[in-house]
Structure formats: structure tokens, C-alpha cells
């Protein structure tokens, strides 16, 4: 049904930029169509909040996350965009800027920009560091000011390159929120000195995050990318859709642990699988995306490399609710963590039993993803993280907890740690911690210095100074500032436990 009031509010807003209004209005139009079959029980769980499709809209007309094969683009150029394969650094950067403009996603911006160091490195011969840095500065500034949504990700590593080192250098200096950067780290490949530079960059500007490369190669081999908020997805493909179960809300209907595990979870997760299949079928069979989009025609993406992500969030509250009488806390008490593991085992078992449409790459399976959250999530802790304020005093206990729960999520999971400011003088110390954590199975970690302007909210970055502007009702360029300021205030992110102090 057409939402007249919401449409009018969007259209007349004083806080949204023109572009944000346009996209809001497009969403109102999309949602006026009722093309998906949604059974009454599914509607019930949508209303209770146990099922959430993360604003994907009522009539999906493009996959949620798209990871083009940028290597191929650089090799062949693009007929549709009338671009020859780039021969110089300038041509490369311009070609990428043009292509990024045409990569859709759920946010209408590209969520994945490729392994930018590997793309750029072959074009550096004959340029001085100073020349390259100047070009990178313009390139990165263009991205930050035109991709006005922080759910955008570029990758680095695992090998050390001159381009990688220079990107870190420029990134540190310009302190942008877009794109997010992730370095793929393989202790067997990535030199310590390069990782120490990356960690120092991370303490200076909250980028890059660190991805456990050997662990994340497992699902699709080397051709994976980190997109949006810690989504591990196949390159030359992506994710059709992501719907999540919000355990925080589902558990409210539970009469007991048994009722939760054996009645509520099977019903709710089954409905989510059906709902995602309904979305996939509409994208593939009705929307026309795969027949018409030039990315498909030019081989930069391929339908057989898309898959559905099965999101899980709110484990902390779910466990704490079931443990209420015993007063045990997720992340602090063994009994609570053991229950968390039983819940994850059950979710894994159920999700592996569902058949996903049009997903040959995963053998017709949905892939689990620890979803990091929405601005509207009040009192819902991201994914399987420990609630802020309940973190164990010991950093090693916290990391062991991460390792225990990360292993369930091939399509992405991550934890965020504010780090004491003085660690900058000894980045090797933080690298030791990363090595230890990855050896135990932690899949992804991000850091920020406890006293920086750039704060990681649930996965994306926002500047404290920009949030301050938004709170004073001034328009701000990036929509994620709006999401971030609500989340920062309501979820008390300032109370995250600072580590290594």
C-alpha cells in the first residue's frame, strides 16, 4: 500500500539531502507494489520484529550486494561504458570511478570497490611516491564525497604492495569514512612490517579492519571480497538478499529453552528461508536484472555466483532472557555461553536443512551471517557479540568468546575493539593479539583508538564531529551519520570496554 504520509515527510524533509530524498521516494514507490507472497505467520514475525529484512523493499529489482570482477574490467574495459582497458594510472583511476558510479546495490551505491591495492599496483611504474599519493588523494576524496553511504568497502592485502603502503599513508592523512577498508591478513603471506603499518593506520583513522584470510578463503576460495559491513561474499557475484532473525524479539515468545529451540526457531527460520526464496525468485525471474544489466552481459557478475545470506542478531539478549531466572550473562558466565552455543548449533542445523533457490555456488544452501544491526535496534546487540557493558574484564576471555562463535558464520562476522591510544607506539603488540586471535579461529576484527574522531558504530564508520552537527539538525552529507548518531546514543557505544590500556 502506498504510504502517502511517509512519502510527503521524505519529500519535505529539512534534514535529507536531495539525493537522500530521491532514494527515499524510490523506496516509497517500490513498497507500494505488493508482489511478494507473505504468509500470515511471516507477517506476525515481521510485526514482532523477530524477522527483519533490513529495508530491502517490497519489490527487489537488484541483488542486495554486488561484487563485480574488477580485475576483468581492468583487462577488458567496458563496451557499455565505452571504455578501453586502462593503460595508465590516470586511466585506471578514472575508469574505476566511472564504473563505481554504475554498480547498484541495496544502498544504490557500490558496496564493494575491489582489492584496490592489487588493481592499482601494476600501474605505478614510472611514478614517484609523491605523484601517486596526490592521485590517490583525489581518487579517495572523490569516493568519500560521492558515495555518501558508509556501507562501502575496499580490500587490501594479503600481499604487501607499494600501492597498499601508499593507500595506507594517504588514508591516514585524509581521515575519510568512505570507503571502509579491510586488509586480508595471512600470517604466511603478509609481512609483519606491512601489518604494523596497517594497524597504526587503524589506530589513527579506524581503517583498515583485519580479516582472517585463511579462514575466510574457506567458503569460496581466493575469489572472495569483504563488502558492506563484514559480508564475506564471492567476487563476480554477491548476495541476492539478507534477512535476519532478531533473536532478541523471538525469545520474547519463548516459554522455555526447549520451546525456543524446538518450536519457535524451526518455525521462524523456516519462514525466513521461504521469504528469502520468494525475494530471490522475484529478482531472478521477474525483475529483469540478470537479463538487462551490463555487469552481467560483460561478465563482471554472474548469476551462478550469487547466494542468500541468513542473518542472525541479538544472541546476547536471547541468552540473557532464557537465563533470567539463573541470572547468568552471555559473555561472562560459562552456563550462558554454553546455551549460546546450543542455540547456534540448532540454528546451523536448521539453516543447513533449507533449500535456497538459484544458489549453485553454495550447493543450494543459505549462508549464515552475523548481522551487525540497524539504527532502529534499541537494546539489540549485533550478531553474536557480547552486549556493551557485559564484556569480560579479561581481553583474552573476550577473544576466546569471539573465536567460539565466529566459526558459525561463513558469510561474515566481526567484533569491534576500542584500543588504548598509546598502543600506537607498539603496533607489534596489537599484531600479536591478532595473530593469537586468528590462530584460535577469530575471523574478523576491527579497531579504533579510544580517542579518535572516527568511531566504528556497528560496522560502518562515522565521525563524532558530524554526529554533533546532525544532532543540531543540520543536513549532513552521509546518510550513515544519521544512522550512527542514533545508534551511538541509544546503545551507549561510549561504554565499550577499552582494551590494552
Amino acid at each position: 500500500m502506498f504510504d502517502r504520509e511517509g512519502t510527503y515527510q521524505t519529500l519535505t524533509s529539512r534534514e535529507l539531502t536531495h539525493e537522500q530524498k530521491l532514494m527515499g521516494l524510490a523506496k516509497c514507490a517500490e513498497n507500494a507494489l505488493e508482489v511478494l507472497k507473505i504468509p500470515p505467520r511471516t507477517k506476525h514475525y515481521f510485526e514482532s520484529g523477530a524477522i527483519n529484512d533490513l529495508f530491502e523493499g517490497g519489490a527487489p529489482y537488484r541483488p542486495r550486494y554486488i561484487l563485480p570482477d574488477y580485475d576483468r574490467f581492468v583487462r577488458q574495459g567496458s563496451k557499455f561504458l565505452k571504455l578501453d582497458p586502462p593503460k595508465t594510472l590516470d586511466e585506471l583511476l578514472f575508469s574505476l570511478m566511472i564504473l563505481y558510479r554504475h554498480v547498484p546495490s541495496i544502498t544504490n551505491f557500490p558496496v564493494y570497490l575491489g582489492s584496490v591495492d592489487k588493481l592499482i599496483d601494476p600501474f605505478l611504474d614510472g611514478h614517484t611516491d609523491a605523484e601517486i599519493c596526490e592521485k590517490l588523494r583525489l581518487f579517495l576524496t572523490y569516493l568519500d564525497r560521492t558515495i555518501t553511504d558508509s556501507f562501502c568497502h575496499a580490500n587490501l592485502g594479503p600481499g604487501e604492495t607499494r600501492a597498499g603502503r601508499l593507500i595506507l599513508k594517504v588514508e591516514r592523512e585524509i581521515q575519510n569514512t568512505v570507503p571502509n577498508l579491510t586488509i586480508k591478513y595471512d600470517p604466511a603471506v603478509t609481512p609483519d612490517s606491512f601489518m604494523e603499518e596497517a594497524i597504526n593506520c587503524s589506530l589513527a583513522c579506524s581503517n583498515p579492519a583485519v580479516c582472517n584470510d585463511p579462514a575466510n578463503r574457506a567458503p569460496f576460495g581466493e575469489r572472495y571480497g569483504v563488502a558492506s559491513c563484514y559480508n564475506i561474499l564471492p567476487v563476480c557475484g554477491g548476495a541476492y538478499t539478507l534477512t535476519r532473525v532478531t533473536l532478541t524479539e523471538l525469545v520474547k515468545e519463548a516459554e522455555s529453552e526447549g520451546h525456543f529451540l524446538n518450536t519457535l526457531l524451526p518455525e521462524c527460520l523456516g519462514l525466513i528461508a521461504d521469504y528469502m526464496n520468494e525475494r530471490i525468485r522475484f529478482i531472478v525471474e521477474q525483475s529483469g536484472f540478470f537479463e538487462s544489466n551490463f555487469l552481467v552481459k560483460e561478465g563482471l557478475i554472474s548469476k551462478d555466483r550469487f547466494l542468500p545470506m541468513f542473518g542472525v542478531t541479538g544472541m546476547a539478549e536471547c541468552v540473557n532472557t532464557l537465563m533470567k531466572e539463573k541470572g547468568k550473562i552471555y559473555g561472562r558466565d560459562k552456563e550462558a555461553d554454553d546455551l549460546g552455543q546450543r542455540i547456534m548449533d540448532r540454528i546451523q542445523e536448521l539453516v543447513n536443512g533449507y533449500e535456497a533457490a538459484y544458489s549453485p555456488l553454495t550447493g543450494g544452501k543459505f549462508l549464515l551471517h552475523a548481522q551487525v544491526g540497524l539504527d532502529s535496534d534499541l537494546g539489540i546487540t549485533s550478531g553474536v557479540r557480547i552486549a556493551i557493558g557485559d564484556e569480560p574484564d579479561s581481553f583474552s576471555d573476550h577473544l576466546r568468546h569471539c573465536a567460539r562463535f565466529h566459526r558459525y558464520f561463513p558469510a561474515g562476522v566481526g567484533d569491534i575493539f576500542p584500543i588504548a591510544g598509546n598502543v600506537e607506539q607498539n603496533p607489534a603488540a596489537l599484531l600479536d593479539v591478532v595473530k593469537g586471535a586468528f590462530s584460535l579461529g577469530v575471523q574478523y576484527m576491527s579497531f579504533y583508538s579510544a580517542d579518535t574522531d572516527l568511531v566504528r558504530i556497528t560496522g560502518y564508520l562515522v565521525k563524532r564531529s558530524e554526529m554533533e552537527k546532525y544532532r543540531k539538525h543540520q543536513p549532513v552529507l552521509q546518510n550513515t551519520t544519521q544512522l550512527g548518531s542514533t545508534s551511538y546514543a541509544t546503545n551507549h557505544l561510549e561504554k565499550r570496554k577499552v582494551r590494552m590500556g
Binding site: 579479561s394 598509546n422 607498539n426 596489537l430 600479536d432 593469537g436 590494552m500
Partner: protein, 278 residues
């Protein structure tokens, strides 16, 4: 096993040697440096009881004429340390190597080594030997942070296990050392020679404070002692800071950054190539 008084254990220290390390601070020192930034580690508690009534959390009590500290009630406000007339702390636990190692184990695999500091760790050579005997097979590097007033050559077994000593040279002339610390530095100089000769000098430190520390003489003296080893030695010049300091020195000012630059240049001229100014 031998017990030693443990003031605290920092699970992830980033300032006590290379990489991430668990640092163990032992209680009791044979010097009393004017600029000591943790003077509460200098002496053992004499159970005078002055702190007991001042504890806001009721975590301290007198039992059998000894001050008893209840870890569970403690809120770590450090009031007891502030009011102690004896430069001690009631929050000290007597632990043996196995107990300390049990604490260290919790931080494996997130650390690359352990560092024992103080107080003065070399007052407890037997404990250190036992502790490093347990730590070494776990793949941990073992460092000591010492004022060098106990002769390391007397403990060859310990030195075999120890990967290096971070040696605090403090002052060069006997008189300056005496008035700064109340002790004698003949053994410090001997240790400097010995540790360098056996390849176990992890770093040499000087806390710089004009008029109280003869930093120039110390830099030159260390370079002369180390001879051809000087370029490879890590020299750390630490600017005095009044943080945590008790007594007369607490009102002194830090040396200017210009002064620290001059000392760095002097060290470079004396032959040091690995100079860190903090």
C-alpha cells in the same frame, strides 16, 4: 617452589618490551629513587594498619596483626596507596612461579613473552629462575626490567633462560647515583659490561631530569663501556614526568623537548644508532 611478593600482573602490556607481553611487577626495591613513578612498590607492607580505616570499600582489615586485602571487595581506587606512610601497598600477593604462570597461561596465544619488573625483580633470582623455567617451554620470550644493582653474573642458570635485560642506568657518577637513589652503581656498570658481553642487553634506559641526573655523562659512559656494541644497543631516553611521584621530586618539571633533542643528538654523536626518546 619459591614465593615472591607480586604487586600486580598486567595481562597485555604494550610498554614493557617488544610486542604484547604479560608483565609481572614484584614488590620491594633496594633503591629509593626520588623520581620513582610507582613508589608504592618500594617496600613491603609493615602492617601499620594506616590504610585500613581509609578504604572506602571495606576491602582491608587487620587479621592477626597483618593487613588483609579482600580482592573481591576492592574497587581499585588506590586510596590505600595514597595514604600509606611506608611506600608500600596492602594489595600484594605472595605467589610462586606456578601460580604466576597460571595467570600468564590465560593470555596465551595473545602474547609473545613475559617481562618481570618491580620493585626490583633481581632481588628474587630463585623465583625468576623457576618462573622462566615454566615460561620458556611455552614459547614465551623472557625479559627482565632491572636497576642492575644485583650482579647477574652470579646467576648463570637464570641468565641462560632470560632473553634479555632492560637495564635502568639512572646516573653515571657515583655521587649523583647515590643522591638520586640512595644506592651504589658499581654493580650497575659491571652488569652493563656483562650483559653486553653475553648478548643479553635488551635495552639501556636513562630517565632524564636536569640537575638530578647526569644524563650526558651517562650517555658517554655507556657508549664507552659498550664500545663496538654501541651502534647496535637500544638506548631509551625517558623524559621525567611527575605522574605518580611522591615527595620532593613531585613538584619538579619535565625537561623541555629541546633538551631531549639535545640529548638525542649527543647520544647519536656518542655512537648510538638505535635511540628512542619517550
Amino acid at each position: 617452589m619459591t614465593k615472591a611478593p607480586v604487586n600486580k600482573i598486567i595481562p597485555f602490556s604494550t610498554v614493557d618490551g617488544p610486542g604484547s607481553r604479560t608483565s609481572v611487577f614484584l614488590q620491594g626495591c633496594n633503591l629509593a629513587c626520588g623520581y620513582c613513578h610507582n613508589p608504592e612498590t618500594q617496600r613491603l607492607c609493615n602492617s601499620c594498619g594506616a590504610c585500613v580505616s581509609k578504604c572506602p570499600a571495606g576491602a582491608l582489615s587487620l587479621r592477626d596483626n597483618c593487613v588483609f586485602w579482600d580482592d573481591a571487595k576492592c574497587v581499585s581506587c588506590d586510596t590505600c596507596i595514597a595514604v600509606c606512610p611506608n611506600r608500600a601497598s596492602p594489595k600484594v600477593r605472595e605467589m610462586d612461579a606456578r601460580q604466576v604462570m597460571a595467570e600468564v597461561e590465560k593470555n596465551i596465544p595473545f602474547i609473545r613473552g613475559v617481562t618481570v619488573s618491580g620493585g626490583e625483580c633481581s632481588l628474587y633470582p630463585q623465583f625468576l629462575t623457576e618462573f622462566f623455567t615454566l615460561a620458556k617451554p611455552r614459547g614465551l620470550s623472557c625479559l627482565l626490567d632491572s636497576n642492575g644493582t644485583v650482579s647477574f653474573s652470579a646467576f648463570p642458570e637464570l641468565m641462560k633462560l632470560c632473553d634479555g635485560v632492560m637495564l635502568d642506568v639512572k646516573a653515571w657518577s657515583t655521587q649523583t647515583f647515590q643522591s638520586l637513589t640512595g644506592g651504589d652503581n658499581a654493580v650497575v656498570k659491571e652488569n652493563l659490561r656483562h650483559l653486553s658481553a653475553i648478548g643479553k642487553l635488551e635495552e639501556v634506559r636513562i630517565v632524564c631530569l636536569d640537575e638530578k641526573v647526569d644524563a650526558e655523562a651517562a650517555i658517554r659512559g655507556i657508549a664507552q663501556t659498550l664500545g663496538s656494541e654501541t651502534p647496535g644497543a637500544r638506548l631509551v631516553l625517558i623524559s621525567f614526568r611527575p605522574f605518580g611521584v611522591k615527595g620532593d621530586f613531585s613538584s619538579l618539571l619535565s625537561p623541555s623537548s629541546q633538551r631531549m633533542r639535545e640529548l638525542r643528538e649527543l647520544a647519536a654523536a656518542a655512537g648510538f644508532r638505535r635511540i628512542i626518546v619517550k
